[in-house]
C-alpha cells in the first residue's frame, strides 16, 4: 500500500499527488514511470514520475481524469492509499550536454517534462521551455518550469495567455526568427508531439518524444504497448517510453490508443449511472 501524503488540484480535472514509495523514489531518474493500480479490480495504468525525493521516500505524480481509472485515482484523498505502485519503469531520459535544448510541453505533458528540463539544465544545457495548453486555466506547472529553464515561452490554443496558437507553431516561429536548437524533447498529446516533430524534422533537430500506449504489466511481458519506430516494432515499457520522434509511426499509435475506446465509454457510463 502506498500512502498519498499530499494532494492538490493543478487545473480542472488535473491533480498532483505526493505518494510514499521509497524504493521507487530511490532509483527514479527523469523519463521513467510507474504502474499504478488504485484499488482491487482496478486497471494497471502508467503514470510518468514528475519528481522524487530520496530523503522522504516520496514520488510526485500528476494525473488528468480521462477515464474511469484516472477518475478513481482523483478520488483518493490525502492519508489514503493506492493499492499498487510499481517502478520506476522504462529507460531514463538521455540527459547530457547537447548545447541548446528546447523542451516542448503540451497540456499535462508539462508534468513529465519538468524533471527532464531540470536535468537538462543541471548538466549545463541552455534550456528553453515552450509550454502550451488549450487555455490559461488548463496550463499547469508554469512557475515550476520557470525555475528549471533559461527561457519560458507560453502558447495557448485560444490565446488567453502568451502566443495564440499551438506550441508547434510557436516553436516554428522562434526557429524562423533565428533561435536554433541542438536537441528537442516534446511531451504531450499525440497530435501535439507529431506536429512538433514535423517542425523539428524540417530543421533536422533530433527530437525525443515520450509515448503513452496502453500497458498491462509495464515490464515487457504483454506487448500491448508496441510502437513502430523507424519501421521496427518496439515495446514502450522496456525500450522506451522515450523514442526518436522523427521515426515514430504516429498514425498507427493513434489508432492503437483507440483500441479500448468503446470499453472506456462503457466504464464511464456505469460510473455516471452509479454516481447519479
Amino acid at each position: 500500500m502506498y500512502k498519498i501524503v499530499e494532494k492538490r488540484t493543478l487545473a480542472p480535472l488535473t491533480t498532483w499527488f505526493l505518494v510514499e514509495a521509497p524504493l521507487v523514489a530511490k532509483r527514479h531518474k527523469p523519463g521513467q514511470f510507474v504502474l499504478v493500480r488504485v484499488c482491487e479490480g482496478g486497471e494497471r495504468f502508467p503514470l510518468t514520475i514528475v519528481d522524487s525525493d530520496k530523503e522522504t521516500g516520496t514520488i510526485a505524480l500528476v494525473s488528468q481524469e480521462v477515464g474511469k481509472s484516472t477518475g478513481l485515482l482523483a478520488k483518493v484523498e490525502e492519508g489514503e492509499f493506492l493499492l499498487d505502485v510499481a517502478g520506476p519503469l522504462g529507460k531514463p531520459t538521455d540527459i547530457h550536454q547537447f548545447g541548446r535544448v528546447v523542451c516542448v510541453a503540451g497540456g499535462i505533458g508539462a508534468a513529465p517534462l519538468f524533471p527532464i528540463a531540470r536535468g537538462m539544465k543541471n548538466v549545463g544545457n541552455d534550456v528553453t521551455v515552450i509550454l502550451g495548453a488549450r487555455n490559461e486555466e488548463l496550463m499547469i506547472l508554469r512557475e515550476e518550469l520557470e525555475t528549471v529553464c533559461h527561457a519560458l515561452r507560453i502558447a495557448t490554443d485560444d490565446g488567453s495567455v502568451g502566443f495564440h496558437g499551438f506550441v508547434s507553431q510557436l516553436l516554428d516561429e522562434r526557429i524562423q526568427s533565428g533561435e536554433s536548437y541542438d536537441h528537442a524533447v516534446a511531451i504531450g498529446p499525440l497530435p501535439m508531439m507529431e506536429a512538433v516533430c514535423k517542425v523539428t524534422g524540417k530543421y533536422n533537430i533530433p527530437t525525443i518524444v515520450s509515448l503513452n500506449p496502453v500497458m498491462v504489466d509495464g515490464t515487457g511481458m504483454c506487448g500491448g504497448c508496441r510502437v513502430k519506430v523507424h519501421g521496427e516494432t518496439l515495446f514502450a515499457c522496456v525500450d522506451g517510453p522515450e523514442f526518436d520522434g522523427l521515426g515514430v509511426d504516429f498514425a498507427s499509435l493513434s489508432h492503437r490508443l483507440k483500441m479500448y475506446h468503446k470499453q472506456e465509454q462503457c466504464s464511464l457510463q456505469r460510473v455516471a449511472k452509479e454516481g447519479a
Binding site: 481509472s69 498491462v216 504489466d217 511481458m221 500491448g224 516494432t233
Partner: protein, 486 residues
C-alpha cells in the same frame, strides 16, 4: 485394508471425470473434476510397486512415486501427502499442469504392456485431499541459518527454490514484479485448468514456511541485483524470471487493433479478470471471430479462454500438422471437444485492415511438410498459390516467448546467451556471477511448469551448498568425506 494384490493390468486405468464440453465453455470453472476416493484407491492398486521404479527418474523433482502411491493403497492420505511435500512444495499445481504423459507416466513399467498408472491424477487427488480438509502437513522450516536468499520471480522456478531453501532454514524473500505472486501460474494458465485459489493456497503454504513475498518490485528497475547483495544483505540470489517477452510474427498489419500477444490476452483475462468486465476495470478485446496462432499449450490456453468469452467462432492456426503440435495431447483433445476449429498446416502471411485500423481478417497460406529440421520435426513449406483469408476481428499471437532482459542487462558480469537467456549450468543453476543462480525458462527458454520447478529445486541445493561454504569453507559433501572415510 488388506486386499489381495490385483493382477497386473487387471484394473483398467481410471478416467478423470470432467465437466461436459457444453457445460464448461459457459464458465471458467475447472474442467477436470478430480478422482473420487474409491476411484483413486482403485487406481493406486494398479501400481506395481517396482523394486527399481523408473517413474522417479521421469519426475523432474524426483517424487518418491511408489511410496506415495503405496500410502494411497493403505488409505493413508496424510502419509501420501507428506511424501509429496518432501519433494514438491506445489503438488496440487503439478497434479494439474505437469505433462505426466511425457514424464513419470511415460516410463511407468505397467505402461509397457498396459496403460500407465495415472500418477498425476493421484498426485492431484492427494494434494486436494489435504487442501480441502485444511490439513497442515508442511515440513517444519529448518533451524535458522542466518543466511538471506533473494528469489527473483514468483513463478514455478522461484516458488520451488523458495520452498526448498526455507525448509533448509534460510531466510527467503521472493521479489515479484506484478501485484500478485505466482508468475505464469497466475497470469498465464487459465482458471479452468488451474484454479487461482489453489495457487494462492500453495503460495500461502510457502509463507507458512517463512518465505516472504514482496510484490511490485521489479528487480533491475526498483532494486538492482548488486544492491540485493551490497545494501539488502542477501548472501545469494536465484533468478527465475521466466520467459515473458512475447514473440510476434513480424508480418504486415500486426499493429492493427485486434491483434495481441497471448501473454496480453491471457494476462488481461487471468490476472486482471477481464472476463468480468465491466465489474472489473480491465477490458479484453474479443471479436465475433477469434483466431489464435500457434500450436503450444499457450495457444491452446488462449483459444479455450477465448471460447469462454463467447465469440461466434474460435480458430487455431498452426503451421505444422497436428502430430507436431507441442501442446499436451489432453489439452488438444479438450480444445477440440469444446469446439475450437483447428486449421493445421496453415501459416498467416498478413493481417488485413478493415480500412479504419482494425483487424478484419488474416491472409494465410497452406503448408506441407518437408524434410525434418533442426528440431527433428518436418519443416513446413508454403504451398504456392494456396492463399486464403480467415475472417477474424481478434487475433492472438502465441508463437513463443523470449527472455526478458531487465535483470540481465542491469547485472554486470552476468553472462547471457544468443537469445538473451541467462547462461547457467542446468544441473546446478550456477551462473557467471558468484552467488547468483538461475533456473527455469529464463535459462532454458520457454518450457513447462515442472521443468522450471525441477530447475528451482536443483538450484536450491546448490545455493544451500554455496551458503555452507560462506560459513566455513567445507561443503556438506566435503564434510561427508571427512566423517565417513570408509
Amino acid at each position: 485394508m488388506a486386499r489381495d494384490k490385483a493382477k497386473p493390468g487387471s484394473i483398467p486405468r481410471q478416467k478423470m471425470p470432467e465437466q461436459s464440453p457444453l457445460a464448461r465453455v459457459a464458465t471458467f470453472s475447472e474442467v477436470a473434476l478430480g478422482l473420487a476416493p474409491d476411484i483413486a484407491h482403485l487406481e493406486s492398486e494398479r501400481c506395481l510397486m517396482c523394486k527399481k521404479p523408473t517413474c522417479i527418474e521421469g519426475c523432474p523433482v524426483s517424487i518418491d512415486i511408489p511410496s506415495f502411491i503405496q500410502r494411497v493403497v493403505n488409505d493413508d492420505l496424510e502419509g501420501a501427502a507428506r511424501v509429496l511435500f518432501e519433494s514438491n512444495a506445489l503438488p496440487a499445481i503439478c497434479g494439474r499442469v505437469c505433462p505426466q504423459e511425457d514424464q513419470c507416466e511415460s516410463v511407468c513399467v505397467l505402461g509397457k504392456k498396459f496403460e500407465p498408472v495415472a500418477i498425476g491424477r493421484l498426485e492431484r487427488f492427494v494434494a486436494d485431499y489435504v487442501r480441502e480438509n485444511g490439513l497442515d502437513l508442511l515440513p517444519n522450516p529448518g533451524q535458522a541459518t542466518g543466511h538471506k536468499v533473494a528469489i527473483i520471480g514468483s513463478g514455478p522456478a522461484g516458488l520451488s527454490a523458495a520452498g526448498e531453501l526455507a525448509k533448509l532454514g534460510h531466510a527467503v524473500t521472493i521479489f515479484e514484479a506484478l501485484h500478485k505472486p505466482g508468475g505464469v501460474l497466475v497470469y498465464g494458465i487459465p482458471e479452468f485448468r488451474l484454479p487461482k485459489d489453489i495457487v494462492a493456497q500453495e503460495i500461502d503454504n510457502l509463507r507458512k514456511l517463512g518465505v516472504e513475498i514482496e510484490t511490485n518490485v521489479v528487480i533491475g528497475r526498483t532494486v538492482l541485483v548488486d544492491e540485493l547483495f551490497a545494501e539488502e544483505g542477501f548472501d545469494a540470489v536465484f533468478i527465475g524470471t521466466g520467459a515473458g517477452l512475447p514473440y510476434f510474427l513480424d508480418i504486415p498489419g500486426e499493429d492493427l487493433n485486434g491483434v495481441c500477444s497471448a501473454n496480453e490476452f491471457l494476462t488481461r483475462v487471468n490476472l486482471m479478470k477481464a472476463y468480468d468486465f465491466p465489474n472489473v476495470d480491465t477490458p479484453v478485446h474479443v471479436g465475433n471471430n477469434v483466431t489464435v496462432i500457434g500450436g503450444g499449450n499457450t495457444a491452446l490456453d488462449a483459444a479455450r479462454t477465448a471460447l469462454r468469452l463467447k465469440p461466434e467462432k474460435v480458430s487455431l492456426v498452426y503451421r505444422r500438422s497436428r502430430e507436431e503440435m507441442p501442446g499436451r495431447a489432453e489439452e488438444i483433445h479438450h480444445a477440440e471437444e469444446e469446439g475450437v476449429d483447428f486449421q493445421m498446416l496453415t501459416n498467416p502471411v498478413r493481417f488485413i485492415d478493415n480500412g479504419e485500423g482494425w483487424l478484419a481478417g488474416m491472409e494465410c497460406v497452406r503448408m506441407e511438410l518437408g524434410e525434418p529440421d533442426d528440431s527433428g520435426r518436418r519443416r513446413p513449406i508454403p504451398i504456392e498459390g494456396s492463399n486464403f483469408v480467415i475472417h477474424c476481428e481478434t487475433a492472438v499471437v502465441a508463437v513463443g516467448n523470449g527472455a526478458n532482459q531487465i535483470v540481465a542487462s542491469t547485472t554486470p558480469g552476468l553472462d547471457t546467451g544468443r537469445h538473451g537467456n541467462i547462461v547457467a549450468d542446468e544441473e546446478t543453476g550456477a551462473t557467471s556471477r558468484d552467488g547468483v543462480f538461475a533456473g527455469g525458462d529464463i535459462v532454458t527458454g520457454a518450457a513447462t511448469v515442472i521443468l522450471a520447478m525441477g530447475a528451482g529445486k536443483k538450484a536450491a541445493a546448490t545455493v544451500h551448498q554455496y551458503l555452507l561454504t560462506l560459513d566455513g569453507g567445507a561443503t556438506e559433501n566435503g564434510a561427508a568425506e571427512i566423517t565417513s572415510p570408509g
